[in-house]
């Protein structure tokens, strides 16, 4: 292989020189090793050399070792981090100093990576960044922060809770750190950017240790209003009294539990979906293997929720016509009370009814922003079954004509045709499908065609319906 001097010279320009302290550090490392060699030799020759001479040599070697160690540890305290007694002494004697930019960046990035791992539930990655690995769960502050960060990204209230966690980015917007020997304390401000324009700031205080193997986190604590609220929420739901044999599974359980109790419980997502969520919660609870006095309270809450859902599964006995009239009565009551009404006891929220809820919501939104007037008087009217389109033992699809009594305002005397799919539950019916095929309302002429258009472009029904609703809302805003 031909050696090219000019090429070598060019390449050398691409390599920086070692720092000023590098050569000194190498010399000190060698001196330290030599003093160890001498001490070892001294110990080995103890049996052959005269006692006094051995003691002198050993004392000299030890003194040299202490002196050199002190110099070395002062320059590179990380070497002392894992040495019993020596580490304590070095730490006690060291001053507190600010850290250089590179170490500050490293600490900030480690805190960011840990926070992201906690939020995503990626606990192996988090453990790799901690000095004690998986034992981070034993630190109360760290464990509580892990629970909080996981909740933040999976909570429907903050980041949509629909898998948005994967789309969240973490940005370090501020960092500060100081060092005492091999221990660091860093305060890092993170900006969490979720879907759309959701932004949340979190301040994290972390303690780190630097060893010869690198920098590691020993403890982490989130400090923000959101964290304080979360801690209060855990307390009010009795979760702080739970102990888990599988702590990371406990985090997943608590996140789902709080999401259910604070969001899903009152959401119009249908009893089937709620029942499924409760089943999932029970499975997660079993996986976490909890104990503690609070456990009975948690189990009781889950049982109470299940019982409440059972009641919703069995609607009050109501004929199909009464049900059709009730659906439209609540639809227009929303436009009187300026709030979409609760349909959960008579109507499931699913793919076949989703657009109905957007239609109801759009009408209320228009009233709220002044594009429409609220209705004055709304009373339940009557409904006639015009045609049974399809029927079975427990299910039928039929066309109804509904007259809702609106005695004043622009929609006085409204009457309309709707198509409902009804399923028998207990002694009554529940609506599982809604449609309109004629009339001059927004549903038939704008909302439904627009949603179908978006579905044809490949969007899911959820996204297509939502986009159609948002498009129409934008027209009146």
């Amino acid at each position: 292989m031909k050696y090219d001097m000019q090429f070598a010279h060019t390449l050398r320009a691409g390599f920086p020189a070692p720092s000023q302290g590098y050569y000194k550090r190498i010399d000190e490392t060698i001196a330290l090793l030599q003093s160890q060699d001498e001490a070892l030799t001294c110990a080995k020759s103890k049996h052959t050399a005269p006692f006094i001479k051995a003691v002198r040599i050993a004392a000299a070697a030890c003194a040299a070792a202490v002196l050199l160690s002190a110099c070395t540890f002062a320059v590179k305290p990380a070497l002392a981090a894992e040495l019993p007694l020596v580490g304590d002494a070095v730490y006690a004697l060291a001053p507190t100093v600010s850290v250089n930019a590179e170490k500050l960046n490293r600490a900030a990035e480690m805190v960011k990576s840990t926070a992201a791992a906690f939020a995503m539930g990626d606990y192996p990655t988090a453990a790799s960044l901690f000095y004690h690995g998986n034992k981070w769960v034993e630190d109360d502050d760290t464990y509580m922060s892990a629970k909080y960060l996981h909740y933040v990204l999976h909570s429907a209230e903050t980041f949509a809770g629909d898998g948005a966690a994967e789309t969240v980015s973490f940005i370090v917007t501020g960092a500060n750190a100081q060092r005492k020997a091999f221990r660091y304390e860093a305060v890092v401000t993170l900006e969490l950017n979720g879907k759309g324009e959701v932004v949340q700031n979190e301040l994290i205080r972390a303690e780190l240790i630097e060893t010869v193997h690198g920098l590691y986190i020993t403890s982490l604590r989130t400090e923000s209003d959101g964290y304080a609220e979360y801690a209060a929420m855990c307390n009010s739901h009795g979760l702080d009294g739970l102990q888990y044999e599988n702590p990371t599974a406990g985090i997943a359980f608590e996140t789902e539990y709080l999401s259910y109790m604070t969001v899903h419980k009152n959401a119009a997502i249908g009893t089937k979906e709620k029942a499924q969520l409760l089943d999932d919660l029970r499975a997660r609870l079993a996986e976490a293997k909890p104990s503690g006095r609070a456990l009975q309270g948690i189990m009781l809450s889950l049982d109470t929720e299940s019982a409440a859902l059972e009641e919703q599964h069995t609607p009050a006995a109501m004929s199909a016509e009464e049900l059709a009239a009730e659906v439209m009565h609540r639809y227009y009551m929303g436009q009187k009370l300026k709030e979409v009404q609760d349909f959960s006891d008579i109507m499931e929220h699913n793919e076949a009814t989703d657009l109905f809820f957007y239609d109801a919501r759009l009408a209320v939104d228009k009233i709220l922003n002044g594009a429409l007037s609220a209705l004055d008087t709304v009373e339940k009217g009557t409904a006639d079954l015009l045609e049974i389109i399809q029927s079975g033992d427990d299910r039928m699809t039929a066309r109804f004509h509904v007259n809702t009594e609106i005695t004043s305002g622009p929609m006085r005397g409204v009457g309309e045709e709707i198509i409902l799919t009804l399923e028998k539950r207990g002694a009554g019916w529940i609506v599982t499908g809604y449609d309109r095929v004629n009339g001059d309302g927004v549903y038939v002429n704008r909302l439904k065609p627009l949603a179908e258009h978006y579905k044809e472009t490949g969007l899911s029904w959820q996204n297509a319906n939502e986009k159609a609703y948002l498009d129409l809302l934008a027209e009146v805003n």
Binding site: T10, R12, F15, S128, G214
Partner: protein, 163 residues
């Protein structure tokens, strides 16, 4: 070999090779403080295992291998966090190639080519010595050197050197 003599010779070699060890570590880690840390740790490890070294001539490749392992360990740890070290600029913009400086050009080389070219041109090792350090056949070292030179020539242009 007498242990004391062996150790004295070991320390002498460390002093002699400290620059080369640093440059080699830098070719892997691309960070001055981390490269210095890696060499320091490697020296302590080599000292701990010095008794396992039977042949003086084996010290040099053995030391470089220890440094390399140390660097890989540190790089592995670093990969678990978001990289914060120097950013390597993109070389293409709207399909036009821009000339880059030597440091950036070296940084753009694949890891194995960067190691080979550092050991050959910066640390003055022979192809056989490099093969021993990297634990690959000599032919592989030659092909890595050749590819690295070609890539550097492409990135740097002719005005910097003539091969």
């Amino acid at each position: 070999m007498n242990r004391d003599k062996k150790l004295q010779w070991f320390y002498g070699q460390i002093i002699e090779l400290r620059d080369e060890l640093f440059y080699f570590a830098y070719s892997i880690l691309r960070s001055v403080p981390e490269s210095e840390d890696a060499v320091s740790s490697a020296i302590i490890k080599a000292h701990t295992h010095i008794d396992s070294l039977r042949d003086r001539s084996a010290l040099k490749p053995w030391l470089f291998r220890i440094v390399r392992n140390e660097c890989y360990g540190m790089a592995k740890l670093r990969r678990r966090t978001v990289p914060i070290d120097e950013e390597i600029p993109y070389l293409h913009e709207h399909g036009t190639e821009h000339r880059v400086d030597v440091k950036t050009a070296i940084a753009r080389l694949p890891q194995e080519q960067r190691e080979a070219i550092t050991l050959y041109y910066i640390c003055d090792h022979s192809v056989n010595e490099i093969a021993e350090i990297l634990e690959v056949p000599s032919g592989t070292v030659k092909s890595r050197l050749s590819r690295a030179r070609a890539e550097l020539k492409r990135l740097l242009g002719d005005e910097y050197y003539e091969i």
